[in-house]
Symmetry: none
DNA sequence: TATGAATGAGTGTTCATTCAT
DNA sequence: CATGAATGAACACTCATTCAT
């Protein structure tokens, strides 16, 4: 119920009614993500965002201090959606390998759903002043932590080699992001599920121990995907 | 002598003396890459570029039609440097695995040398209008082709599994780019050479056939890396 | 009970309860004088005034038609305080010279008490549209009239030379105002009472007849000032 | 030849050609003084100033950093004109009383010539940020110094009483300013020369010693004024 | 060729004012 | 009566681009 640091709630509004703030920010962010993703941050004017959100330009400044704040809010909303999807996908799963696969798959799918927004994050994080950019980095590190935990679990269970967890996590994360970043080309090579399948296979080869490999085969035959 | 597609020569200058054009563009591009990399495209003014290049603002428009042209030129100069480094690194090598390793290593090193510029490419390509962006994509595809060729060679020689070459190429390329994109975090985990070593090991595990693996071991013991 | 010209009552309110109107306007004007004096009229927003007055911005517009009306009200309240202090200081005095001295002294003291507000009046009267500015001028003329009357009395009594009453009145008024307008410098030269004493001495020299001069000496020795 | 502190030259231009800077600033300041005087600083837009000056809005920002800088420049130009007129009027005069009279008269005349601008100075100095306002104060102090010197000379020559020079200087200065500040009323009482004459008579009465008075009479009969 | 002064359209932001509740 | 969220016109300032020299 409390607003945690590094979340959307950090940006202070001049309006006190919390429900209204949530609603308005929702409108603003949705429009902003859409427009920033397509036209870029600098080519999008606040008036554009306002018009698309169906509000006046002045209103935006009651919920945000800066145009840059709109960007921050937009980026955080994207990263936050990552942070929500992954735990949801892991719910009920206990097998390390299953959790690993579910996490990667969930990540890739949310990237796919928010493809433009993911590209936005890559393009525009550097447009933020240092302090606000830090919020983004913190959020990214947190998400990565979820992937890293799945990986570490597999290693602890003797299913994967003892690799540098954080480095490999970056490989995994980057693999998911690439679906958005290079979609203009990748979409001609395969669809999302094939991309995930190929990727998982690739990572399996790279990471699994013989023991892990046996479980993996079992998993592959029982799971329909 | 002919202007090839996807190269610097596509942007038309108002000045006829080719040597002068090359010199002036050199000045302009160098300043632009520097400034765009640090402050971003939109935060950098043409006057900034002019001042840093030691020329007048008006002069720039005799060698370029647009501010966007400056960006295009800057990005192409970065991508071109990739295209030059890789063949140079492969020169004299004939063993498929050696060529593969050399290509990856060369790529990572150029990325490291032009880290800011690499980030710039990610941030700013979308700031170009579609037609000019295509030039960038073409250039990227060409570079990827070099990596892909090395990979394909290894497969043909039975040293690597028969994976989807283009997909895996993207993994390799992305791995190199990540050094720049995530440098703020990666630099705290390892230095460039460790990053390359870990990566090569990872890809080896993922790709090598038993035969390839034997050669790889041999390679690892003979080569100091 | 009737609204007199040149007073606060000219500005029409949308609220009928007169007592409430007086109370609300009191709040608003007090905040406005304070804020306008310190930050100036244009740098002060209606929201600032509302917040300081502890009311909502909307409420102000039920007691005022304009932001300019708030300024008018504020200025009038300042000038009105002049108009009240001077007669109060003269009460019970009948000697022309004593009344003259008392009037000047009272004027200087109100100016001192409302120093910022006096400066405000100088700065901001011109910000009013002509018709409203006229109200201010009327008010100022009325106050000047009190000083002028004291001066005229001294002349009629043969205590002062037969000068142009209105012109000298302006000198006297200006002398009082200067304490506020040039306070940044004057405060380093003397305190208020010294300022008054020096001024009175100066005006005495300039105005008194030989007869007046004798009375003045007498006054000076009996009165502690 | 060097730019002295506290003068117009303090505001830095982006244009290097000094003659051009002088010319452009002349245009800008002239328009600004005119417009600020009539409509006030806040009611005047930079576009207004630009249009009246016959230049583009953007141009102004090559010669000025701020709208506030335009105000500073305008105010300084007014105060500077005071500083020039007074010494010019004193040239060739050596008699202390003559110099005193000439100084006051010159001051009043320049105030009359730049009546609106003088009012502007009173209204708008407080609109400047503290550091820039200091420049104005410095300039004012300098001008006052000229008057004060004339006054001090008369005292030293035994022509005037030994009053507090700086305080009386403020009275003299304020007298001149009042012609502008209260012109709406004063112009109905007398014209400028009468105003000056009455004022000089008043100050003479207040300040002259018997010796000074004798010289004054002589002066009055010989000088046509 | 090169310069750099000039342009003016474009945009983030503010704030007086309104009005539904 | 009072509130305060919403509006939208207004304005300072920037900067890509031009063009006379």
């Amino acid at each position: 119920m409390d607003s945690k640091p590094g979340t959307v709630h950090d940006v202070k509004a001049q309006v006190s009614d919390e429900a209204l703030v949530a609603k308005r920010r929702g409108q603003i962010i949705a429009s902003a993500v859409e427009l920033f993703s397509h036209q870029g941050f600098y080519r999008t004017t606040i008036q554009d965002v306002a018009k698309k959100a169906g509000v006046s330009a002045g209103l935006i400044y009651q919920y945000v201090t800066d145009k840059e704040d709109v960007l921050l809010l937009a980026l955080l909303s994207v990263l936050e959606s990552y942070k929500q999807e992954i735990p949801a996908a892991l719910e009920g799963l206990s097998d390390p390998l299953e959790r690993f696969v579910a996490a990667i798959r969930a990540y890739c799918r949310v990237v796919d759903q928010r493809r433009e927004a993911t590209v936005l994050a890559y393009r525009s994080t550097k447009s933020l002043p240092d302090d606000r950019r830090q919020l983004i980095k913190d959020c990214e590190i947190e998400t990565n932590g979820m992937i890293a935990a799945c990986l570490a679990n597999c290693i602890k269970a003797g299913l994967m080699r003892d690799v540098n967890v954080e480095l490999v996590t970056y490989q995994l994360v980057t693999f998911a992001h690439s679906w958005a970043l290079k979609h203009w080309r990748l979409k001609e090579l395969c669809d999302l599920e094939q991309y995930i399948a190929e990727g998982l296979d690739f990572f399996a080869q790279a990471l699994l121990t013989p023991k892990g490999r046996r479980q993996w085969e079992a998993l592959s035959t029982t799971t329909i995907c």
